[in-house]
Symmetry: C2
Subunit: 263 residues, 2 copies
Amino acid sequence: MTYEFDLDTRVEPDGEDAYLADITDRWHTPNGTPNGGYTLAVCLQALRHRLPLPDPIAVSAHYLRPAGVGKARITTETVKTGRRLATGMASLWQDGKEMLRVVASFGDLDKARGRTLVLGRAPRLPDPETLSDALGGLSMPGLSLAGRVEYRLAEPPGWMRGEPGGKPQWEFWMRFRDGREPDALSLPFFVDAMAPAVLDIGEASLTVELTVHVRRRPVPGWLACRVSTRYVMDGFHEEDMEIWDSAGNLVAQSRQLGLLLSA
Amino acid sequence: MTYEFDLDTRVEPDGEDAYLADITDRWHTPNGTPNGGYTLAVCLQALRHRLPLPDPIAVSAHYLRPAGVGKARITTETVKTGRRLATGMASLWQDGKEMLRVVASFGDLDKARGRTLVLGRAPRLPDPETLSDALGGLSMPGLSLAGRVEYRLAEPPGWMRGEPGGKPQWEFWMRFRDGREPDALSLPFFVDAMAPAVLDIGEASLTVELTVHVRRRPVPGWLACRVSTRYVMDGFHEEDMEIWDSAGNLVAQSRQLGLLLSA
């Protein structure tokens, strides 16, 4: 069986340093456009073909234009290949326009052997099996992403009940609906797969830039997540995300800079 | 009068899309190499020449090799020019090797007119004029950066007294020693100008990737800062920095991924 994520992020070589991909309509946000984490994952698949190390450790993505459904060409460049880190660049093109520019440093997280010290805490969430599917039976126009990812929340934020509560931070569980287990390559997708935190202050937003640091390969199972926005300044805001695996370890941290649609 | 920062980050055009710069020995960290925020600022000076908008709003820097003192060539590319944001790429080269790759989206922060909502708090620090210069009279070998930047702390972390306290987070004031006022372009330098937070857990570190979001142009005066590391995983750690201006507004947020030298 090929899982949806692997099928829809697949790339085919096109010449020496480019790849072709199909951007499908199965990962749409309510904006009616492909989710930014999904198009980022396509670029990372191309870089994984290109670079000699497996795990995207530090990923920077600048969103230039909203991508659309259909063919995409990903051009890549090997920036530097070192023993511990290999850095590459990828650009996603559609109809002759660059939609997304990514610089990513890959490594091998299983060979990382340094010190560990955790001063923050994992999300405090009940067993996901005791919670109901946050979108069970709920259909949102255009939001095909919700058919791919399942969310479980103990305390749904106000906006989910139609009443933004002014608290743009919450914790939740997340996983692929089709049973695909999380891995290092899917984490840069997952950090962008939740609805934006600013929904709880009554705002929608577009991503300008997204940085992901993958900190460890996740073990199989649910991902425990925490999303938050603390500072909206003149229409720009950060959104921070942490993802912890089912063994209780931090596996990814991300921050994006967004621009409110109302700005 | 030309201030040190402007003098030492100056670039001269070299052909259509490249610039020449002199990396000086006045911004060294105790590693004996130029500070990463300084080399980043040189790249941003080149991009400011190249792009039509003035403020570096979202900056991603991947550190490939430690830069050295001497001539550098900065190659640049205009990635996209839009009404609100202009994105460019810059690479800093020395002796035929790429040291630093930067992608940055510039905008005009004075034209940002959207909503503001602050849910975090500014650092709680006494008036800087009541505090003494943290490095007054102290000389650290190789640390020429301390001749350029002045730091004032109410509660110095343990490592400053030679006893790492295991608390890699503190608040402090910062400014240029020569009286140059902070601006949007110097903030990506300032976010990297403090000693790494991991010093307080007895570690030193090298930057792999640094992301800076400049949120507002600072007013003149001292910068109130907060630095913290919460998660060290297998030798990799994040370092978060916030900078607030003397009017009490958040002006920059940054996160870097570092790798402990002990790893």
